[in-house]
């Protein structure tokens, strides 16, 4: 049987944890577990990077840059889909919807994990897609 392919999309809190530099950080350990479990792609929507203040050119971002190479931009197609999802789930924010749009756009996965501190809105948004999304709470 072929090994399952699992992608990962990080939300704001997950990114903040990954950027932390304290020796012990429970949320960062959870993010690393998710990164290890994701044998496909690990991506961050550009909207999440903005909210989490992740500037890839800063020295403090070096460790996070090693793990998450791919940005998913809020391009015109993503913007349209973002609006559609937010109309379906009015409580969701632009950033919440951008996470689900990124998950939806990742091809070739058995499962796409979303790691978030806001599982309620993300699960509601994921319910409006055809992708097999596993919303995990930090």
């Amino acid at each position: 049987m072929a090994a399952p392919v699992r992608h990962l999309v990080l939300d704001n809190e997950a990114v903040s944890a990954l950027l932390a530099t304290t020796p012990q950080h429970a949320n960062r350990a959870q993010v690393l577990e998710a990164i290890m479990a994701a044998n496909g792609r690990t991506v961050v929507p550009t909207a999440v990077r903005c909210e989490a203040l992740w500037d890839r050119t800063e020295q403090t971002a070096a460790a996070a840059n090693l793990h998450v190479k791919d940005d998913d931009p809020l391009d015109p197609a993503a913007a349209n889909r973002n609006v559609q999802l937010r109309q379906a789930v009015p409580a969701a924010s632009l950033v919440d919807a951008s996470v689900v749009v990124s998950a939806e756009r990742l091809p070739g996965a058995d499962v796409v994990e979303i790691l978030t501190s806001d599982p309620g809105d993300l699960a509601a948004l994921a319910g409006h897609t055809d992708a097999n999304i596993d919303v995990r709470s930090l």
Partner: protein, 148 residues
Amino acid sequence: MATLLELLATLDELDSAGDVKATSVRMPEALHHAVALATELGMAKSFTAATNDALALRVRAFARQQALAAHLAQFPHDQPDLEAVVRRRVSGTDHPAALHEQVTVAAARRYERRHPEWAVSGEVDHAVDQVLELVEMLVEMPVPAATA
């Protein structure tokens, strides 16, 4: 000396740049023949594409391995249990490891005892694949008939 950041930056270029550099690679004749046959059978568009795809895959896997090893060297407290990583890998799928949790946990613990360096070496995907294969084998193994 090359750094991991340089490697990742070069992989970024690989995704976007179309520049081509001719190179000469010595390879075993049998491998050359096997790649040619596999290409004819549809594995890749051409011999060159097959070679490039395989090399890119290998380099990406190495970069991931090095990134995980570097993280755990800096933050050793972040190391998860292998069983947690394996269970997360198959969560939401119909893989036997997702359906047989006790077998999966036992197989992961056994692997972890025998290969305590599985995480700090960065060879996480190899460790997970080994556990998944073991679980598949154990689950599919016929149960011996009871003797009278």
